[in-house]
Structures are given as C-alpha cells and as structure tokens.
Symmetry: C2
Subunit: 477 residues, 2 copies
Amino acid sequence: VKQSCLSLLAILITTQLCLTTPSLNAAESGSTETHTPRSVILIIGDGFDDQHLTMARNYLAGNAGTLGLDALPVRGAVQIETVSPDGTRLYAADSANTATSLATGAVTNIGRIGTDAQDRDRVTVLELAAHAGYATGLVSTSSVTDATPASFAAHVNIRMCEGPDITNGGELYGQPFSGCPSDATQNGGAGSIAEQLAKAPVDILLGGGAKFFDQSIPGQSQTVIEWAQAQGVRVIRQKDNLANLPASGRVIGLFDKENLEVRWRGTDGRTAENADVSWLNRIDWRLGSSADPEPMECEPNPDYGDTPSLAAMTEAALTGLAARSDKGLFLMVESASIDKQSHKRNPCGSIGEIEQLEEALAAALRFADDHPNTLVIVTADHAQAAQILPEPSLFAAVPVPVYSPGKVARVKTPEGGVMRINYATNNFPKAEEHTGANVPLFGNAVAQGVLKPFMRQRDVHQAMLAYLGLNEEETTP
Amino acid sequence: VKQSCLSLLAILITTQLCLTTPSLNAAESGSTETHTPRSVILIIGDGFDDQHLTMARNYLAGNAGTLGLDALPVRGAVQIETVSPDGTRLYAADSANTATSLATGAVTNIGRIGTDAQDRDRVTVLELAAHAGYATGLVSTSSVTDATPASFAAHVNIRMCEGPDITNGGELYGQPFSGCPSDATQNGGAGSIAEQLAKAPVDILLGGGAKFFDQSIPGQSQTVIEWAQAQGVRVIRQKDNLANLPASGRVIGLFDKENLEVRWRGTDGRTAENADVSWLNRIDWRLGSSADPEPMECEPNPDYGDTPSLAAMTEAALTGLAARSDKGLFLMVESASIDKQSHKRNPCGSIGEIEQLEEALAAALRFADDHPNTLVIVTADHAQAAQILPEPSLFAAVPVPVYSPGKVARVKTPEGGVMRINYATNNFPKAEEHTGANVPLFGNAVAQGVLKPFMRQRDVHQAMLAYLGLNEEETTP
C-alpha cells in the first residue's frame, strides 16, 4: 500500500508540481532551467550570545515578551571552534576565525581571514555561490573590511590588513605591526582586504570602511575605490543612493570612514562604571561601604546622523540581488556593533544594534515570503562579556557592602524595571574580552531539516552549501 | 476526500490500535483503562546556562565533541520571569521562584516556594499528577528541602524554612531571621518544608537534607522522619538501599545531612583565584605587572565517599515509580550543585555535576526507550556567573598587564587545552551572583510538538500538564 501511494504521489508531482516546487536535485546537478530560485540569507549578530539576546528581549519586548527571533520555528545552538597556531584547541574565539569557519568550513587561528591554520586560502560559500551563478552580497554595520564581512570574500593571515597602507607592515594603535607581507601587493600578493574586496565576486557590498578604500594601491596612482570605479563598479556614499541601486553590475556602498555609527547610547554617553567603594572596604571586605552607579536610560546616539539602518541596507541588497540572477542569491548581513559596544561596556549600544538585527530579520522574512525557497539563518560568531545581574544583589540583605569587581550599568527599561549589566572580563579601558559559550541559532521554516538542533560553525557552512547545491571540491576560487 | 480518509483512520485506530497507542484524549478525560502509560521526566540543571553547558562540552567531550544533551532532537530556549514584591519585573532570579514557575506556572517573587506573589499556595504539576493517579518522585543532589525539589511539593513564603527549628524565626547564618510564621506548625500552618514533604503525595523522594527531617516537630516528641515512618513511609539512608526499593508505598531516601557531596574539585581543592597584580599596576593600569593563577586539573572530591550518583537515584526512582502506577509517572530530577559550585567559583565542581546530569539523562532516555510515551525535558532554572574567557587574553600582545578584575580558574582539559573560567559578579567570598540569560531547553523525540523553540518557564509548566492531561482548574491540592 505504501509503495502504490508513493507512485501516485510521484505522478502527481511530476505532472503538476515539478515546475513550481523546490527541487534540491535540480540545484545539486547545477541545472538552472527547471527550478525556482534558491537563496540563503545568513544574518550574523557579532558577539550575540544568550545574555545579549535576553538583554534585548527584556528591553525591547519586555521580560514576558518575545522578539522576532523568538517567533522563528527553528532554534538551536552552535559550538565555536578555534585552534592555536600549535594546533591546541582554544575555548574562546574572535570574529575572524569564526566568520572564516562559517564562510569556509575551516577551523582556524584567531585573526585569520579566509585562510586555514596552515595559511592556505579557503574558498568561501560566497565565492562558490558566485561561481555557480548566484547573485551575492555582503552587508554590515562595520567597515566592510572588518573581520566578519571580509572572511566571506578575502584571504589574509591577519585581520588588521584592512587597507593598503598597513599591509606591508608599519604602526597600528601606537604599536609596531608586521602586517601581512605575503599578501601585500608590492610583494606580488592579492593585497589588503580592501583591494581584495574591490576585485571579489560580490555584487553588492554595503557598510563602512571608506578610509581603507580611499588609500592608494601600492605603486599605482589610483586609490582602491578609484580602481574599482574604473572597472565599472558603481560606488555610493549616501544613504539616499540605496533607494535606486542599479539593477545590474557591481555596487560598493561605503557610508562611513570606519564602522557605522550605532543607534543608541546611555544617558549622556555613560557606559558601565565601577561601584564607588570606600577605603575601609578596600582594606577588609566586611567593612566600609559601596555605592552603585546611578541608573541610566537608553537615548539616541547624537552622532548617528544619516547613517543607513541595517534593515535599509538589507532591503536594498535583497532587491538588487534578486534582479541580478534567476538562480537565487547568497547574502550575509551582519549587525557588527553588538560586539563592539560590549567591548566598550555600553549595553544601550548593544541593545540598539540587536534592534537593528531584528529589523534586518524582518526584511529577510518579508523577502522569504515573496521568494519561497529562501533559507534564513540567524546566528552569532562568538559570545561576549555582558552579563545580566540581580538588581538588587541576591545578597543585599547581608550587612556588608556587595558589589561587582567589574563595571556595572543599571539600565532603566521601558516597562519600569532596572536591568543591571555587568562587564568584568578584564581591567582594560574600553576592551572587554569575548567569552566562549555556544551561541544561538535560528532559522525560518525553510531551515527545518536543513539546520540541526546542535551544530558547529563548520556544519552551518556545509548546510548552506548543501541548500544551494554547491560543492567546494569542484571549484577553486 | 480529507474527511473520508480521517474516518477510515478513525476506524483503524478504534479497532486496532486503541489499546497500544498514546491517546491524549484518554489522559485528558481521566480514563486510566484504555491507554499506555504516559510519563514526564523533568531534568533540571540548577544554574545550567550556555556558558556552563559549553564548559562541560569542552571538558567532557572536547571542543569538537557533543554531549548527550547535544544529540537530543528538540532544543530551544526558556525565558526566566521574576517579579519584585511591588510587581516590578526583575531580570535575574533564584531557584525558588523559577522552580515555582516550572512547578506551578506562577510568576512569583525571589525566595518563594510553591506560592504566588500574593502568598497564595499554587497547586504543582506533581500534586496534580498524584491526584490523577500518576506515580510521582523528586530526586536531587541537594537537600530535598532545597528550593528546586521543594517547589514541586511544598508551599512556604521563604525558601530558608527548610526544617521545623527555623520556621517560626530565629538566627540563620549568624543573622536574625523572621522565618515563615504563617506556615509554622505551632501557629496552625502546614509546617516547614521538611514537614510538608513528609506528608506530600511524593511516592519516592531521594536526595540530601537529613538534618531537617531529624528535627522535632514543634509540640511533639517525634522528629519529622519518625512521624513519617510512623505513617508507613520507608526511610533509607544508604546508597545500597537504592537497589531494592519496595514496589509500593512511599519512600524517603536521605543520603547526607544537607546537600550531597559533589563528584569533582580543582587540584588540592583550589577554586578560582585573583591575578597577582603588582602595586605599581594598582596605581596606574598601564604600569607594573600581573601574574595569572597557575593552571589546575579536575580531580575526584575526596569527600564524595559513598554518595549515590544522580543516575543511580534516577534509575531507582524510575523503576520504583513504574511499578506503582499503570497510568504513568511524573519525576523531577535535579543536578543541584552546578549552581552551588558556580557560587563557590569551582568550575571542576560544576563540570562534574553536569556529567552527573548527562548520566541521569542517559538513564531517563533508557527508560523512555522501554516506555514509549515518556516525555523527557531538560532545562535550567536560571543562569550563573561562570564565563569562559580567552586563554591567553585577546589583548595579550598589548604591552601592559591584562587580567580579570574577578577570580579566574585555568582548567586543563583532557584534550590538552587550558580553559579559563572567570567569576566576577561580586566581591563576596564563595557567593557569586546568578545571571539573567535565558536558559537551554532540550527534549526527546516525544517532545516534538509538545515543546516550542522559545518558551517561558510557565509555558513549560503548561506543556507538562497538557501532556499528562492534567487541568489545574479542576483540582485543589
């Protein structure tokens, strides 16, 4: 009985549905004639772990509320992998090695962009997709030369080689920096990340980082961006240009010198602060007194200006890419400054950028509504420092001073609570450490069966290849 | 067509499968004659968030490995809810209010056991299950009077009222304590948690906490446990007794005075330690030097002795409960000291207790293999302080001392790495704070459709009731 039912179904599908139904086999065989476009939108929240996710839920939706992410039908966790140069496993990562894992499937060293632990260039999902005829895009609120977007279309051994000026070595943040001499143009390499992105098969590239594209190519009179324009790349610098992107050709949009400004900040620019602890308490923890920092509110960042939103860039990219290929598209969208604001101990900054991620997700889901075979994945590259602490302390009734050894921000929430955020991973000004927890994974209905409840970043890479019918063995970048 | 197919199916089910197929309707209507038993095993890791989960994965399975939990087919996240006495939302919780949410569906105040924010007793899933004819059990590595197990079968306004001696007030941890006078036996209340558990409809109760049961009932010559024995409750105190639990009647097993000893500790009992920072660096962060604590290994806790494992208690409870009811069972299993060891900054202690949770899960899944309608859920009550930090620091190349302001343990892993764990939520000896992130949720295949990707703890409560066909409106505890 089972077999005859299946035969009947097969006839029905063959005769009626074949031209409008998703067909993995068609994609796998490379055929582009008999199938609906197939697309992947990969949204990365940089430093977006479960503490940051919950911070955003509590602030944006309320403690009993749900984010757009929470409504997605597929949810799981992703394990982060990193190795030291001697091959030993490490338990916390950076955005370069983790984005490289997602982009290429390699488990590699901290700081590496599109290269494995033996410094071999690894082909990326974006490069494979472009080679197979998909339209491709990268969108980020960071410099497009920053680790996450760079790892999808460039290959250097150290992430700091963002522009030509530093790639053959020099001084960075007041320290001598060796650069990436084997990649430098003057040494016959593929050049800095900006130079590589100018040549890369990325149809639409949107974000910050104009500073690196406005540097001269070594030994040439042109800047990187002038060279790109001479090759026919359309370059835009203003948010308003997003509304009318050309329907063909490559586009590079650079909306800030480095990272885009973030949406929110704390009251008067305040970030997390140390408790005010009396000298007596410093001598003996049972004595003296301590005072918490005053609560703060989240307010608009006055420097935000006419920065395009992540959602606006995402919508423009999706519209532009859909016009460019009947096969489908691969788009990576990054909300980069969840991480950068957590490094700076600015919870309002991180929450605003999670709101941006939510809006970009909504744009991706609207696109998926109109384009049935669109796999939407949301994940993070690594966990970050912020922690939600009890307000007041669980030990507030004990008659001695109780306070965090780190820095604390007490954020007033719209529902009338006070959310206490702790940053206590190091003693550095404006530079908290990443943390090593597995990160969240989300998918739309298309992700059912494509994503699994528990994956490693390289498994997510393989899942994207499988969905797009790409095979990294067949192609060299 | 759809309707006639359904009719045919209905006939098939009625005539052939009804006696062996799970039937929610049968459970809902209270019928016990025509269905396979239906069971819920709820496993709670206390303080078991994604940082602790990843710590355990890295140590027990390796950075590229998978835990038993990771192999479960259902995974999601659970939001924690808490309110202050004035009704304002709080963003970090304790084990009492969160276990009360799971047990009763109430969103309540920190410290409350089985009572809502208006101090009303709320019926628990265990009480409803017992009333409906299910066998019931509570198993924990803590005192059975501690917050998590207590919240499933007792009702007091403050969790510290574990035994008769303190319930009408007195001194606790050197501080005056008001107790729970409205609950005290001498005031006509239901008594301390131990007294309530002695009377509660819990068929099998296993864990620590003998101290509270060996206290005298106010105004009586009997201790709590003597009273229980006089009512026919079988009391055991040794691990060996687990092998031959009676097949009927109530059992209370108390294997320690308070919490059970944990499996592991750090080298020579070491926990996380402060960096050794020079005086010059204390004056200016750019000057002087700092030295990390030496790495440590996880070693057996010499005090563990003949403590029964969580898995041994779980297996004994499942065997015993299965013999007690044809309807099925409700069992709550808690690995309690993941949290308690995180408070004490002992990562080896927490990891060993997550290994215990893994073993208890394996026992639950074996039971589910033999008993098809067994819903296995694993979750946590709240997040905890520990964080995995980069080893070395991401900023190690910067020529100034870099260190955590909190306490750090550098744990050598079996695969040859060093995992750096940070505890930096307060200045207290042995008392880190809980944190506020959403916590992991796992389920076996039976959980598909029962659990959702994102739930609140009160939703998990409702899902358990629905699966067992229980209705809290119909029953008063």
